[in-house]
Symmetry: C2
Subunit: 456 residues, 2 copies
Amino acid sequence: MADKQMQNANKNDQIAQLLSDQKAKLFRREYLDLHVHEQAQIFSDLDRTLRSRVYRYLSAEEVGDMFDAIEEEPEDVVRYFKEMPVQYAAKVIDEMYTDNAVDILAYAQNKDLTHYLLALPEERSAEIRELLHYEDKTAGALMTTEYVDIFADQDISSAIKDIREEAADAELIYYAYVVTNDNELIGVVTLRDLLTNPEETQISEIMTEPVISVPVDEDQTEVAQKVRDYNFVALPVIDYANKLVGIINVDDVIDVIDEENAGEYSGLAGVDTEETPENPFQASLKRLPWLLILLLMGMSTTTLIDHYEVLISQASILAVFVSLITGTAGNAGTQSLAVAIRGLSNSEEDRRSGLKTIFNELLTGLFAGVTTGLAVFLLVGFWKENFILGFVIGISMSTAITVATVAGSIIPLIMDKVGVDPAVASGPFISTLSDLTSVLIYFNIAHLFLSFFLNN
Amino acid sequence: MADKQMQNANKNDQIAQLLSDQKAKLFRREYLDLHVHEQAQIFSDLDRTLRSRVYRYLSAEEVGDMFDAIEEEPEDVVRYFKEMPVQYAAKVIDEMYTDNAVDILAYAQNKDLTHYLLALPEERSAEIRELLHYEDKTAGALMTTEYVDIFADQDISSAIKDIREEAADAELIYYAYVVTNDNELIGVVTLRDLLTNPEETQISEIMTEPVISVPVDEDQTEVAQKVRDYNFVALPVIDYANKLVGIINVDDVIDVIDEENAGEYSGLAGVDTEETPENPFQASLKRLPWLLILLLMGMSTTTLIDHYEVLISQASILAVFVSLITGTAGNAGTQSLAVAIRGLSNSEEDRRSGLKTIFNELLTGLFAGVTTGLAVFLLVGFWKENFILGFVIGISMSTAITVATVAGSIIPLIMDKVGVDPAVASGPFISTLSDLTSVLIYFNIAHLFLSFFLNN
């Protein structure tokens, strides 16, 4: 495996060298022989001089195919367009699949965008303009308009003829969507259906209906869930009048799944793990904002503890258990939060009603809290030979765990209702909140029993 | 949306009612009209009596198709096989795609497995037996043997004829793999290629070579990465002699991506978020093991703090800042851990060498630590009007953050090297470790400056 990668790396270097040496013909031969994914990888490593040679050596169509496979951020790819002559850039855009082109053009400056759109064929420019309107993270923003559509009254041989004609442009030809004259979506046939039935069969006889589809304003999480559920390689998108407006391909759905997961994960850790900056200084700059925000949030707990300094000076043993209580309650809160966020990211139908979830979490917190409290009561009681102290720690911990568990499930629900993405850093937020309540609970209970553990 | 789900739920109930009422014919009509995903959803909600009616009303082929879409855990599905007569179960297994059948049969008792294998056609039983041997989480365990293969010296029309014939059984017909007489994989053509070229073209002229493939013992993470990179809907699997042994479909890759992400996420939270138990008592039982382990790990920090109780009784102000320092260092450790685990889950080629990573994290930790330390020095200094105290807190926090950041990157690296999955609960583990070192660092530094903050 490592050997093969080494070979690839060498090969990539050799091809880049051909560019440096201005060997256009040899470069074309070697480069175009690669899969577009590999072409894109090589391209992403080039400097500006070499990139401009690529634009001269390759046709806009060839660059367009390669750009469909590029994995850089759209903010970066849009800069490549600026390096090209406008006419060339427009041709590259024209060659790309509409959904990919639109993802990138969303980051173009208005002035540049206007230039490209003017240079494009009118129909194409209208398509792009329309797709640019869809809200980010919806089905509309994910879909492409290059699909295959056929009519119910065609027979299989005529449908296959249509598919053949559309095959060069369509992003996916394995499903053909059946529409009315009004473009209303009424069925779907797979290429498999077409190949396994007699040529003279009417499409209406073999099409699957109703078609599973998503509305154009559907959230991308739901889109991903539907593709998961039905194991489709593409999903049709319809407007409010049930008209077919585009399809979403499975590779774009995988990107969505990765994006959502990274979001949840980053939220729990309080750091964006997606882009890894090259140098340690940049890395620390990325982590510092959250670290400092968390520090400030932590200061609130500190000032609360400070409030009880007199109590601590009278009974220093109390200080020993603060971390244990806040830590364990924090862990319980994080567990409950993780379950809640995963639950929210599941499709609507799996969600239980809010109140029931909260009640369930309250009971879960109580069970977990009482058990953990009992354990710590025994641990501390025997260790310090002081069961009153054990009782105070145990009861505080039970209460703190229950509160943290409920908070861990309520807060993401509230955030979701208010329209804030609960996955964004709610992890650290729950910890702080649970720290505060734990400290309050602990010192107030301890105060009631103060006489039992005054400093001797 | 909600309305539509309500309708679906009602419809599902109605269909289940047809079973209760023993209306076999009506049940067949309504049930078989649904997409297999929906059929499976209804089936999963039935009790044993109703399930046994399904086995009577539907043919083994119909149940097999539905079982391909079932989303329950294999441990549960294997129990359904036990409810059926052995011959019927074998027919269901025969109808299912091999990869799905094998996933489930991996959980069958040996005795049952033998019965099923004996009842299956010999070829089929051999296929299943072979697939059962592949190690979990490898390409071999993910792949199916129902692919389409053709020869390089065929022309397109004969290839399409072959595909037509295999279409009923193959799980995916959109790619046809080109093999030699020895079954060596030498190329691939898509159905698109076949439809857009003249019928008399030789396959050798249009096939893509070399083929991107994975070895049968490849880790599933790498498989997923390849499908992401190349946007394939299927990936061929080869053995050590470059012979085609199976294909992996994109829907199984999505399951892998979900599984890996859930693992990482659960690890960070210290709770398995995948299966959501029905009642709060079970939920708390699932969370308790980790909560108690974390409690015990937390006790180690507590006994360490206890060690410094005399110091605290002399200067209770010190107790106020313990949580702030351990908390912030813990956050820094979690950030670094999250980045490290994400890094490990990326494909091999993206990984930097271990030593370089650690050195980078050391520098990142230093930058972040010094900045945060400086902030807390000023915060505490002004708040308590005591810059010596601020200095002690600040320098302790800088050191603790640096140590936690490095630990957060080293520990998963070590776990990965030793062969333990670093995603499993390393989050809570890092927190405890960072708590311990933070407390040690803090009290030792504080001790040096004790005279400045003795209780008055």
